[in-house]
């Protein structure tokens, strides 16, 4: 332990602590048992107020003596006297390691069960789904909302059927464990204001199944030129790139004309933080099962 004092300071601590203790013990015992107390006839104030050094009641003496015994026992059992570790070998680091070992033992079996079960089986298990929801509430709800329906027109709805990065076990595990970065570049400079408006018209029509409408043909042409690389020719998206499907009714950043226009003109940067260092394997698996089953509040 790097934080224990060095040899010199260890000796320093022991010397001062023991000297102070012995001096105090001697003082207390001498006041009660020796000839140290008594009145001081010299000190008289305001004619008749005498200042004495009489000892406190005798129960106080036994009380202070008991405290001294407890102190001696304490520094013998626990670290306190310099580099001496104490008879119990107690340390704060050892204490929490033991707590973690107990914890691992207590829940080891439950974890193994979660990790060996299929996500479909976990979704049927009510207790597991309640645990999953608690994990979600602790770690995910501040962005995705307590009902997992997304928030602030930024953080995606997890209760719908649309999954930008895929909903199979491997994809969800990667999303949670390593995070995702979804980038939509800004298009204002490339297509101009009119182009942005045409694209917005087309994309909104596409989401309502009206992509073939002649009224949005100019937008469709621009879409085929600029957007298909990520969103696909039919607007069905690309899960490799996290490009969302545009031929459904889900909108991460809002589906109003103003929102869609802003998305196309200025682009969007979506980021899912990595939770691999904060959640363990069993917790991630519970979340995967819960999300696959529709993220329902149990």
């Amino acid at each position: 332990m790097a934080d224990l004092p060095s040899q010199f300071w260890g000796g320093w601590i022991v010397a001062i602590t023991v000297t102070t203790f012995v001096a105090l013990a001697w003082f207390v015992i001498d006041v009660y048992r020796g000839k140290g107390g008594g009145d001081n006839e010299d000190m008289v104030w305001d004619e008749n107020l005498r200042e004495g050094a009489k000892p406190a009641p005798v129960w106080w003496f036994w009380f202070i003596l008991a405290l001294m015994v407890v102190s001696v026992v304490y520094v013998m059992l626990y670290p306190g006297l310099g580099t001496y570790r104490g008879a119990l070998e107690w340390s704060q680091g050892g204490h929490i390691e033991q707590r973690f070992a107990d914890y691992a033992q207590e829940f080891g079996e439950a974890r193994a069960r979660i990790l060996s079960a299929s996500t479909a089986a976990l979704a049927e298990d009510e207790a597991a789904m309640r645990s999953a929801w608690r994990v979600f509430n602790n770690h995910c709800a501040s962005c995705h909302g307590r009902d997992a329906a997304g928030q602030a027109r930024r953080f995606p709805d997890l209760t719908d059927a649309a999954w930008q990065w895929g909903v199979d076990e491997a994809a969800l595990d990667t999303t949670i464990r390593h995070g995702r970065i979804g980038v939509m570049p800004p298009w204002l400079a490339a297509v101009g204001e009119e182009g942005v408006a045409q694209l917005a018209d087309y994309v909104i029509a596409l989401s309502r199944g009206g992509g073939g409408d002649p009224a949005v043909a100019p937008g469709a042409a621009l879409f085929q030129q600029f957007c298909v690389a990520c969103h696909g020719a039919d607007g069905s998206g690309n899960r490799q790139l996290g490009a969302p499907a545009l031929n459904d009714t889900g909108w991460t950043y809002g589906g109003s004309r103003a929102d869609v226009t802003a998305t196309i003109a200025q682009g969007r940067n979506g980021q899912m933080p990595a939770f691999g260092g904060r959640l363990d394997d069993a917790q991630i698996r519970l979340l995967v099962a819960w999300l696959q089953a529709g993220a329902k509040i149990p």
């Binding site: 973690f100 914890y103 260092g277």
Partner: protein
């Protein structure tokens, strides 16, 4: 020993009384503080720890200005429940560049020692401007003025960095010279977010506990 005459002597000699008081009140400090102050375990930065950049330092000073430490702590205690919730417990080396310490003592809000990377910048932006927009049950006040003020309004960032350099922060002359440029065009909100995202990063991937 005759304690009465000792008492008598001390009480009639102010110099002796002052010396006695200083001696007795210094014993605790000599045992508990001196070995730590002269020891070096606290002076070794944790692996991967770096002093705050100019923008993070500005954010840190804003964290102090807005009294964030009244409701938020920055110390994870070695207790199972805390490590499970916040991450590995805080080590002394992680505070090597904390002048002053912002440990705090009251958690009205959660601990922030490892808040870095937990949320995105965008989330922090929404949350600082209107906490209820992302956490409906939050009682945290909103800080809308952070977005309205530019960072380092009073142009003191270089003086602050030089002061810290004198205290031991390893800021180079180049870093201090580049500081105003790094803050140029940034808002106070940007600075606070940069600071929050830098917290606890040095322990990323550390084994639990």
């Amino acid at each position: 020993m005759n304690w009465v005459s000792l008492h008598h002597r001390i009480e009639r000699n102010a110099g002796l009384l002052i010396f006695g008081i200083l001696l007795v009140s210094s014993i605790g400090g000599m045992v508990q503080l001196l070995p730590i102050v002269t020891g070096d375990s606290h002076a070794h930065p944790a692996p991967g720890l770096r002093p705050p950049t100019a923008l993070e330092l500005e954010g840190r000073d804003l964290y102090i200005r807005e009294s964030c430490g009244v409701c938020h702590t920055q110390q994870i205690r070695p207790l199972l429940a805390e490590v499970k919730r916040y991450g590995p417990y805080s080590r002394s080396g992680e505070f090597a560049w904390d002048r002053p310490f912002l440990w705090g003592s009251k958690r009205t809000g959660p601990d922030l020692a490892r808040i870095g990377g937990r949320y995105t910048d965008e989330w922090h932006r929404l949350h600082l401007l209107d906490p209820r927009s992302v956490v409906p049950a939050s009682i945290m006040p909103a800080y809308p003025w952070l977005a309205e003020h530019r960072a380092d309004r009073h142009g003191t960032i270089q003086a602050r960095m030089r002061t810290l350099a004198r205290l031991g922060h390893p800021y180079t002359d180049e870093q201090i010279a580049a500081a105003p440029g790094a803050l140029d065009g940034r808002t106070e909100l940007d600075a606070v977010i940069a600071y929050l995202q830098s917290l606890g990063g040095s322990m990323k991937g550390a084994p639990q506990p």
